[in-house]
Subunit: 759 residues, 2 copies
């Protein structure tokens, strides 16, 4: 047998052994306001379980299962788990929440427990059979599955430095079999540390009505004989892949198991196909460890620290010696059951073995030069082994001393996790580094069950997939539905204007200049008009001068100089008076109209401006540095000056109903308000804006119109608007969460455009 530890050390594979592919599955049941199992359907918002890659149901209609995609680091895995948790928490009915414990809350009579309601009748029948065999209630027990494999590169390196095996596949099998065998042998330590199901609600038990577990708490009801296990005659071998396959196939053939997937061992070998005999051909892809209780103190059911411990534990399992004997595993399983049934405050029966393993783990951590966080979790484990009261089971037992308390704590934690997820609906945990619109789109895609790959997080680059239909999206609305040239048309203000003008739309008259000399010479054209002087391509309001009346020659020249500081070309345009509205166009339809108002507060005759601002800034939609759809109003110089011009200071008390402005510019980024006008805007302008997208050849655009009176229809004689800009990649989050009016979930419209077959 290969000495993996020596190969690693001799060939300096210390970094490689830390690499792996990770995945987490998390179950949890929906309960109603009274902590009773929810009898409602799986939330419709969560798409269709027949294809949903991330959010499924298992046995019961009420049992949600979150599945992270395979990732190359635990950090990535937790990003997904966080995001999926947000999606699920925000998708359950308002009077339901997700129960935080592995053992269920109040269960109804067995016959009332709903089996999954899916179209596939075979799936329903399979679960009916299980219900009959194991009892429906046991199947509501929830937990965490941890999926893992060592990296290809590590396996390859081991292969290159050993002599026993002829193929990478064999080495991979050998490595993961060893991992599994030792994992099963020493799994008790994980149950000791992380067992978190000290008792169950009395409604869980089919016969005995007395509250057995509460009077005698254990480390893990779920891992004890009271949990959901195969019958004791289901024993499979882990010495060779062929034996594992053969044993399970045999159990199915003789009828002990109804299907292969009914094998519930604490560890399963997984291939890349559903049928187990594929393992013989393709080898082990990864292993699945199923023994973890939900950690109710984490909204995800498992903490980062736990996962790091399990990762290092897995490395320990291939590092130390091993036994292929069936008995070793049997013994391990018994130790685990024994540990699960121990009093949470009792010292472990296997304390000595545990301490040796943890010390070895420390030694490995040093050799591998892992990050300090890893050492911390080992220290914590050692401390908990010394002092059982630090284990999860003990902590829960201390906190809960009655049925009432059990339900209360469950409710408190469950509703708290839901509230946390709903508090900032514009963020998607795990991906909060991305632009807000990308987070919203990602949320909507995950909710709908569209497969997402984040191709480049910094670049806001996503791949979306439904069956064989692939779409790429950048910055939430840059897609294959738009053409290359329409982007460049909109990037060039002169070209945009020329095109819109040629199609009869009302653009501000104007001219482009390449040099100060040329522009100065053209003064005669503008001297009797109201004009805007602006750089051709910068977009942030820099270098713009407005002359509402005929400009003096000197002022005009100064404005030109200011504009030329920002760009090599400038525009001089007729100034259009009126209010600016942003029309968001998608596929020929106006999906949202927004007006932005400069930062302001409304007086109540009682509070100072400062207090009014502080109050307004309490809105969870207001944040700082573009991390929220609206920005907090600042107490800066510009704000003070703006107040001064109105005869106020921060300490003035405006009259009731009076609007006091803190800014002249209407940007959201300086605390402005956003007001939805989608339904209020006269239809003639919406019609016009949507028609403008046609010559620009664009599906998704934000068109800015200046409209003096939005209630008055546009007519050919009196258009009543000027179009000043068409924007590619228009912001979407600002329409989703508005200060006033109805939010517009444009990211969902983008998905519908990309995947019409799903809507």
């Amino acid at each position: 047998m290969m000495n993996i530890k020596d190969i690693i050390k001799t060939n300096k594979l210390e970094k490689l052994v830390l690499e792996g592919t990770f995945g987490i599955e998390k179950e949890g049941i929906r309960v109603d306001d009274n902590q009773k199992l929810a009898l409602t359907d799986h939330p419709e918002l969560l798409g269709d379980r027949s294809y949903h890659p991330y959010i499924q149901t298992d046995f019961s209609e009420a049992q949600l299962e979150l599945v992270t995609p395979p990732e190359q680091s635990l950090k990535e895995t937790f990003k997904w788990l966080n995001a999926l948790n947000d999606v699920v928490q925000r998708s359950v009915e308002s009077d339901e929440y997700i129960w935080p414990f592995s053992m269920p809350a109040c269960l109804p009579e067995t016959e009332q427990i709903p089996i999954i309601r899916v179209r596939d009748q075979k799936e329903v029948e399979y679960r009916e059979k299980l219900a009959e065999k194991y009892g429906k209630k046991k199947q509501l027990i929830s937990g965490i599955h941890y999926n893992f494999s060592f990296s290809e590169q590590f396996v390859k390196s081991i292969f290159e430095h050993q002599r026993e095996h002829d193929s990478i596949k064999e080495v991979k099998n050998e490595l993961h079999l060893k991992l599994t065998r030792n994992f099963l042998r020493y799994q008790w330590i994980l149950t000791y540390l992380y067992g978190a199901a000290p008792f169950a609600h009395h409604s869980f038990f089919e016969q005995a009505k007395e509250e057995i577990p509460l009077t005698k708490p254990v480390r893990s009801v779920r891992n004890s004989s009271m949990g959901y296990h195969n019958s004791t005659d289901v024993i499979v071998r882990y010495d060779e892949v062929a034996h594992y396959v053969n044993d399970i196939e045999q159990l199915v053939a003789e009828g002990t198991l109804s299907e292969e997937r009914e094998f519930y061992g604490a560890a399963r070998l997984r291939g890349n196909a559903k049928k187990i005999d594929q393992l013989n051909h393709t080898g082990i892809e990864y292993v699945e460890f199923r023994l973890f209780d939900l950690n109710p103190y984490s909204k995800l059911g498992i903490t980062n620290e736990q996962a790091r411990f399990i990762h290092l534990f897995s490395i320990l399992m291939i590092w130390i010696e091993d036994s292929k004997a069936k008995e070793a595993i049997k013994e391990g399983t018994e130790k685990n059951e024994q540990t699960a049934s121990e009093d949470p405050f009792a010292k472990s029966a296997y304390y000595q073995e545990g301490m040796e393993l943890l010390q070895e783990m420390q030694a490995i951590a040093s050799e591998l030069k892992v990050e300090s966080e890893y050492f911390e979790v080992i220290d914590q484990a050692i401390a908990a082994l010394e002092d059982p009261s630090q284990t999860l089971a003990a902590r829960l037992t201390q906190q809960i001393d009655s049925v009432d308390q059990y339900l209360k704590v469950g409710r408190k934690l469950g509703t708290q996790y839901k509230q946390e997820a709903k508090g900032k609906p514009y963020l998607l945990n795990g991906f909060e580094g991305m632009e807000m619109s990308s987070q919203l789109l990602l949320f909507d895609a995950l909710q709908k069950g569209i497969t997402v790959e984040v191709l480049d997080e910094n670049d806001q680059f996503l791949k979306l997939q439904y069956k064989s239909h692939e779409e790429y999206v950048k910055n939430a609305n840059m897609t294959a539905k738009d053409t290359y040239i329409s982007h460049w048309i909109m990037e060039n203000k002169t070209v945009t204007k020329k095109i819109l003008k040629s199609k009869g739309f009302n653009v501000p008259d104007g001219e482009e200049f390449q040099s100060l000399e040329e522009a100065t010479a053209a003064y005669y054209k503008f001297k009797n008009r109201s004009v805007v002087v602006k750089p051709k391509s910068t977009n942030y309001g820099l270098g713009i001068s407005i002359f509402k009346n005929s400009p003096q020659e000197e002022d005009f020249k100064e404005a030109l100089e200011i504009a030329f500081k920002e760009d090599t070309a400038i525009l001089v345009e007729k100034f259009a008076t009126g209010t600016e509205y942003r029309f968001f166009i998608l596929d020929g339809k106006v999906k949202a109209v927004l007006h932005r108002v400069p930062a302001n507060v409304k007086g109540d005759g009682r509070q100072t401006v400062r207090e009014l601002i502080e109050q307004k800034n309490m809105d969870p939609l207001r944040g700082t540095n573009h991390r929220a759809p609206l920005e907090k109003i600042k107490f800066g110089n510009v704000e003070a000056l703006t107040l001064k011009e109105q005869g106020y200071t921060f300490d003035s008390v405006p009259e009731s109903g009076e609007i006091v402005y803190l800014r002249e510019n209407s940007n959201i980024s300086t605390g402005g308000d956003s007001i939805d006008y989608t339904d209020k805007m006269h239809s003639s302008y919406k019609e016009l804006a949507s028609r403008m997208a046609v010559p620009l050849g664009v599906k998704v655009t934000g068109i800015d119109l200046i409209i003096p009176d939005y209630t008055k229809p546009s007519t050919p004689e009196d258009p009543g608007y000027t179009v000043i800009e068409a924007n590619f990649n228009p912001a979407m989050h600002m329409h989703a969460f508005v200060t006033e009016g109805k939010g517009r979930r444009l990211t969902r419209d983008i998905l519908e455009m990309l995947f019409p077959e799903l809507y």
Copy 2:
């Protein structure tokens, strides 16, 4: 009547009166090698006359007509005229050229002169009728038509400051009628100055075989009674638009003219429709002046200076007093014919009137503060009025004293203009400021007869149109045929690689890093491989380090630091060995394959390296600063160093056949050679490259493959290639003009993709 001069002065319209819309039409006949009228068809390369907006034929199949689109300045008009001249000169058969004189070269017998060969039978019949009426030969006289109107803004300003007229249309009519009347009154001065048809070849005359004109040269045969005119009873009034329309309609009704367009007055009023009575409704759009002979000393038939003079002359015509009397125009016409028939060296019979007009013109030029070039042309005109030998007619008469000489000079100038246009086939005169690929595309579009609007010259933005089909093109191949997202996919090297890899293509293994720390920590992954370290997104070869063998840790770190100087993210990739080829893909097909070789010379055993370089640099395809498809090899330090490493200096004499390199890098921009491999490349790689475009979702891309042996087929077991990059907006000019092999005119393929209905 409005006093236009006073209105201009009082209201400071001096700049506005200079504004206008300009257009030039230039006729010219194709002749063969022997100066005989070409009897061949209109060049097929010049598209279809049934829709061609710029290049037409008039009476004869051999008479080419260039028509510039209306432009807002003479500068723009001349850009177009230059470009159209390039197109036509490069499109005529190799044994033909364009005759530079207004009067034709050797004409065959009348019956052999071909009338236009077009499908429209009515057009042919119309010309047959004209042939009968005027004689075919007269219709081969060529000239320049000058189209002009004052700007809308100027007309509007005049309207606002006068009291006689109720509408802008009336003012516009009045202005242009005055211009026309005075123009006709004083046209003689233009014939005096620019008449350039002192004689005609004897074959031009139907009856008299003697060389009348050569024995007695005149200022302009074309403007004399020997030219192509309506019969003397064709007289129309220019006092009112209604009269003008009425008179021409009357002439058609009574049969004096067969169609309205048979009216050949030296000035025509033009509306926006073909039927003349539209003028009554829409008013005058512009006026057309038809009296100008081809200036044989200009390849365009007219110089910039002439056009400037005509422009100022037009302003003079509305500035000075005016007469509505029919007689005034009749007198002007007679003076013109008289002037045309004068001896080129004779003083003008109307010298005094001319001098007064030119002095008034000087005064106006001062008042309008026009650019100095305008003053120069007035000075030249005054000098020529004083000294007839400075007129075009006199200069020609001095140069030509025999029939033989006439044909020789015509041939010399005509072939010279053709050679000039063909010498740098990669440039399009007038648009030489644009990128080379845009110039090529523009050329191809103009040649084919696609309507082109240059929306933004600096931004390489074109609008192309055929009938109602519009397409926008930026940088010659960025179009609506490509999607928005494909651009961003290719801009992101990591995303490109992920996508290509997921579809089974052979990309270099590698990883992206966001920080030096993270990248340094990953050394263990690359220490035993040959790797390239490069910035993620910069494209110019900066910050790239190559380790052909396992990198030392220190060197690796240094390479990382170098790369991070160029970008915030870097890539470390497996280094692929082999030769790099650029595959240009269009619509799923490989249209060109190119390999670039470092700057080099081939020895001849006789010349020094310096001489060999100088010789190679003589190639007209080699230029400097990217203004030619290939760059001249430089005599710089890098070149000297590269020679030194091979044991050479610039003064060494390499052996015959020996290749000496001047550079290590293969960039064209440092003098490299380009070699076409389109036909040589093994088809399996072309097949692969074209398939790569599919997942990228791109129609036009340049894919770079590293291929060790281009003759050996790619197989699944041994792909034989690595794909290193996919480029959006790939260069096209470098494929069109190559050092070795066949050039590929990709711009034509782009047009075919955009307008399949035309090909």
